[in-house]
């Protein structure tokens, strides 16, 4: 694995490997000294063409916890606002010796271009591109689901009890049902999650108003429903993932995807009545930032089954795992790893 551009590229084994590595990274984060020397001397550039405090801080924290040097580059106030192209920015980064570029861009496919155009040698990590992909978000969602619902945790009736530290290591998400609710059309989180959760064996149901379901969704490996109550009642989802609705899409003045916020909340908001429909073990997720009172009520957001704050913490562990797997090893030798003996077995300890 040289880059992380989309969850569609990940095999089940690769995805489990990332989640297992994240579990070990999370274990180190409960120690008094959280910093590891693993990526000392490596440089990670956070290249953010689109505003995102949460994702950028998460990547920055992850890189710093692994002792990498971090350069934050935001398009605002940089030469990009003077008209510099992605190519010239990339060549600058290459000249400065970046080992990894974390890129957030408003255009779908910008990370793919950066990775494949030959402008940079560094590893490229997609931190959200347009309406396309947000792979680390999907990985942290899968990690959170696995921690709470895989294996022995599956039958736990008390969602408030904290999962064991190593819960679910080595396991996939087979047999779980995840409902993804809200603005699927504009959501890279939904796209990434459908692919990754399906790869890991879970069943995904998208729930959205017909106007917010993308064209061509029938080719996706998931079910689509327009009725949230039916999915929550009969579908018995193990996890309900609410998507953020952007305020500018709420009324007919700005796109007209649904008539009014109130109607959206009535039909697709997770309120206290719908919260009571859920099974005891079902968890409530949200990629943040939340619109309380629109797609999720305050009661749902603050309920014991909401794992929204934990998702943020898990995001750091997952991004540490991705940075470790992309940067720590010498990928040119990866092919020989499959048949070779590990150095420990060869008596190199």
């Amino acid at each position: 694995m040289k880059h992380l551009l989309t969850t569609a590229d990940l095999s089940r084994e690769e995805a489990i490997r990332i989640l297992d590595t994240a579990a070990q990274m999370a274990a180190t984060q409960s120690r008094e000294i959280k910093k590891l020397p693993t990526l000392r001397g490596r440089t990670v550039v956070n290249l953010f063409f689109e505003d995102s405090t949460r994702t950028r801080i998460s990547f920055e924290t992850a890189a710093k916890r692994l002792s990498a040097d971090v350069i934050n580059f935001s398009a605002k106030g940089s030469s990009v606002s003077k008209g510099e192209s992605l190519k010239d920015t990339a060549l600058t980064l290459q000249a400065m010796g970046a080992d990894a570029v974390v890129i957030r861009h408003q255009a779908s496919g910008a990370p793919h271009t950066l990775a494949n155009a030959g402008w940079v040698d560094s590893a490229v990590i997609n931190a959200g591109d347009g309406m396309h992909q947000h792979p680390t978000q999907a990985l942290l969602d899968a990690y959170t689901i696995r921690r709470h619902l895989s294996g022995a945790r599956r039958d736990a009736t008390d969602p408030t009890s904290a999962p064991l530290a190593g819960a679910g290591v080595g396991q996939d998400l087979a047999g779980l049902h995840v409902a993804v609710v809200g603005d699927v059309l504009h959501s890279r989180v939904a796209r990434s999650n459908v692919q990754l959760l399906t790869t890991l064996g879970a069943r995904v149901t998208l729930v959205a108003p017909p106007t917010l379901v993308p064209v061509g969704v029938e080719a996706w490996p998931c079910d689509v429903s327009y009725d949230l109550d039916a999915v929550l009642g009969d579908g018995r989802p193990d996890a309900v993932m609410m998507l953020r609705v952007q305020r500018e899409r709420m009324s007919s003045s700005g796109g007209g995807f649904f008539p009014s916020p109130l109607e959206y909340t009535r039909n697709y908001g997770l309120d206290s009545r719908r919260l009571r429909l859920l099974d005891d073990h079902t968890i409530v997720m949200h990629p943040g930032p939340m619109n309380r009172g629109l797609e999720i009520s305050a009661e749902a957001a603050d309920s014991p089954r909401a794992v929204i704050v934990e998702q943020v913490a898990n995001g750091v562990a997952v991004r540490m795992a991705v940075l470790y797997l992309l940067l720590a090893g010498d990928v040119t030798h990866e092919a020989s790893d499959k048949h070779g003996v590990s150095p420990k077995e060869a008596g190199q300890s």
């Binding site: 420990k344 060869a346 008596g347």
Partner: protein, 218 residues
Amino acid sequence: MTSGPAVPERPATEQTAPVEPPAPTEVLGAPEIARALTRIAHEILERNKGGSDVVLLGIPTRGVPLAERLALRLAEVEPGLDAAGLVGTLDVTMHRDDLHRQPPRAIGTTTLPAAGIDGKVVVLVDDVLYSGRTIRAALDAISDIGRPRAVQLAALVDRGHRELPIRPDYVGKNLPTSVHERVHVRVAEIDGDDAVLISQGPTSPEATTAQAAGEASR
């Protein structure tokens, strides 16, 4: 002084003949390993005047079952000790200095005894001691999780060729080897049986010739 054996002139006939890798030689069997561990356990108790302050940290993969066996032996000799409470595992992957030169490694688990390691005597347990780099990484890893009173090192096999100033406190067997040989430790918990094997590493004629020279010079 060189660290490895010199490579002598190779006869022309050896260049063409394919070299069959010889079968691994068993250096230690199950009874010898058991005896070595029992001896190490006694040495640990003697040196530390009992086992009350001792914590055994096994280095994955094969150091972990060895540490568990040592703990059982400590508890046998000193009935007051709880074997399970003495043992932990210490993963050193993220502290290694060769991460950039190899494919990404899977990260193992670190578990500590409930009482932690602050103020204790930590005995690191590994199967083979070679360059010393794993132990250097382990010392770094330990400093991140606590401050033990002392750190000691137990290795089932010391095969020499140290690259760092590191010396074991307890050794099961000193095994002078050539750098081209490979030492395999098999433990029943992972491999099904207990044994220490030596095999030839790279099967190229150069390596074998060098190996033969190394044997002869000892």
